[in-house]
Subunit: 346 residues, 2 copies
């Protein structure tokens, strides 16, 4: 008997696996403007209008730990991470569907708490909950949310539009959510070793808030609209600034040059990184879950972007052959790695 080949799913990596599984599918409808491979899919609905749809799963034990994630926050965050994908297309989210699979260890009261968080996010972001599915699981809590948004066909910001000479911009600050997670993990371990130890979270409201209650950058999309500025490319920062930069460069066939000193890292994050003996810039580049927007604009739009209160120009788009590099505060130039920046190249 011939032996069946068995390739471990981890060998391809998440993006490699998705590419492998979906490469055989081709678009049959002219209205499908963008399928797999961006923050959201884009469908043409006529009259220069498009619909954007994104979908994201959150799995207990993989994406969240109920030991320190209150259910209300989990509900809120589940919505926010999906809305962030719609904003990243320069679209406005309007509806969501939510499907959950739960084991019988969850009570109606626990679900009420979770839905309270969902409702809070829907109210804040002006979103209608329009459907979903509620089912059982033998073990664990699985969440799948789809977000639906709308925008103008000629204003959609894909990942593949960055051009040499464009300015690289980033909203907000980086590394905070990752460091918030490190604090929560540390306190969990301390609690597991001695349940009399009270968690020491009091002074870390900012970092823990970045992890437990992130916000999507609705304000940036509104500001872009106000000054009539369309980014040449855009992506939201869920996996880390470096990883998202690689996506834009790959899809746009360009390189990038980033100024270390331009990357916004809050003082709380800098202090906490040092406390954990981590490099703050590595936390900012590779931490993830910041849900900020990374985008590129034409150099002629520089005067417009300067008016944005919470956007920094962090670098410039360069030729593909020049790679993706970081200009350090110390004056050195290092290649950036997708999964983190390596301080000392061999």
């Amino acid at each position: 008997m011939e032996q069946t080949k068995r390739t471990d799913v981890n060998t391809l990596g998440e993006f490699g696996l998705i590419e492998h599984l979906t490469s055989q599918f081709d678009a049959k409808h002219a209205t499908t403007l963008k399928g797999v491979g961006d923050d959201a899919a884009i469908i043409d609905i006529g009259n220069n209008q498009i619909m954007a749809i994104s979908t994201d799963s959150l799995v207990e034990g993989i994406h969240f730990d109920l030991a320190y994630m209150p259910l209300k926050h989990l509900g809120y965050k589940s919505v926010v991470v999906n809305l962030s994908d719609i904003f990243a297309m320069n679209c406005v989210p309007k509806q969501i569907t939510i499907s959950i699979a739960i084991s019988n260890r969850f009570s109606v009261e626990a679900l009420d708490e979770f839905y309270e968080g969902i409702k809070k996010a829907c109210d804040f972001y002006n979103i209608d909950l329009i459907g979903g599915d509620t089912t059982s699981s033998n073990k664990g809590f699985f969440i799948n949310i789809s977000a639906i948004g709308f925008g103008q066909k000629d204003k959609v910001a894909y990942r593949n539009g960055a051009k040499k000479g464009d300015l690289i911009c980033a909203s907000g600050d980086f590394g905070g959510a990752y460091l918030g997670l490190q604090i929560l993990e540390r306190e969990k371990q301390l609690y597991l070793s001695d349940s009399n130890i009270k968690p020491d979270l009091e002074e870390q409201t900012y970092l823990i808030g970045r992890q437990l209650k992130p916000e999507a950058r609705k304000d940036i999309i509104e500001q872009l609209d106000q000054v009539n500025l369309v980014p040449t490319s855009m992506i939201d920062v869920s996996d880390g600034l470096a990883s998202e930069l690689f996506h834009i460069c790959k899809e746009s066939s360009v390189g990038a040059f980033i100024e270390e000193k331009a990357i916004n890292i809050q003082i709380e994050a800098q202090m906490m990184a040092l406390k954990f003996k981590l490099d703050p810039v590595t936390c900012a580049l590779s931490g993830g879950e910041d849900y900020e927007l990374l985008f590129t604009i034409a150099p002629s739009d520089i005067e417009k972007i300067k008016l944005f209160p919470d956007v920094a120009i962090i670098g410039e788009v360069v030729d593909k052959k020049d790679g993706i590099k970081l200009h350090t505060t110390g004056g050195n130039i290092h290649p950036i790695r997708a999964q983190g920046w390596v301080h000392f190249e061999p």
Copy 2:
């Protein structure tokens, strides 16, 4: 310390739980024409066009058993059950997103097989796969699919439009998928008791096919369009004919009178029901997973519906106060129960 109240999720039932969790949400956008509570949500996209979106989860050990469900069939069925929801709104599905969470017991080759089934369904139903999410789970296989369809605003068939005097119509036949499942379960138990026993599935292709490879009734939607017939209400049969009839009656505030002899039950299903000592009509009413369409039409459309090769008129919409009843072949009248028909009322 006050004791926290704990209500088991099973006390409310699936539909009760969804109603409980979503009742606090109200629609903020005028474009949200239908939210939770139909086969799909409906969004107004202008120019008398609407978008329909449905979402469904399939959980290993709850909705499918990999002991007898080949992964390719699982992929195919996962798509079909979602498309069925879009057809049930009298819309044409065009795109899907698919999210999966898998444990490392699944190989790339296993996923290839699953996606082969998905591709087969996409090719057959003319669907674009436009996105999704692929993530890990600690245990089990979770699938969530969203289907997107389009239609005309004035031709959408909701659940709430049935009127007294309307004719109740059903496509195809009933009970087959349920009996197919009973055969597969029986063979699994036999195999578990003695692995030398070969499964005896040869003669039951029809029933097993209804369970493992259901089809959605695209043809019925096309025929409705051809003769310009818009059902006054419509639903797809996933939970059983009786349960779906109750949804239509509840949403439309009407009753129903069903003729037992008009319910189409294939001879294979009748024979197998008797073999399992089950009542064939109970299997048809309560079996589920037939993925047929149940709909109502104005009495003036009777000549049009007679031309449909695979649609039967099975009853009539009556006053709400007259309840939901079955006129048996023997000439008796029994109330129908949502979860199955009770032969002998006390």
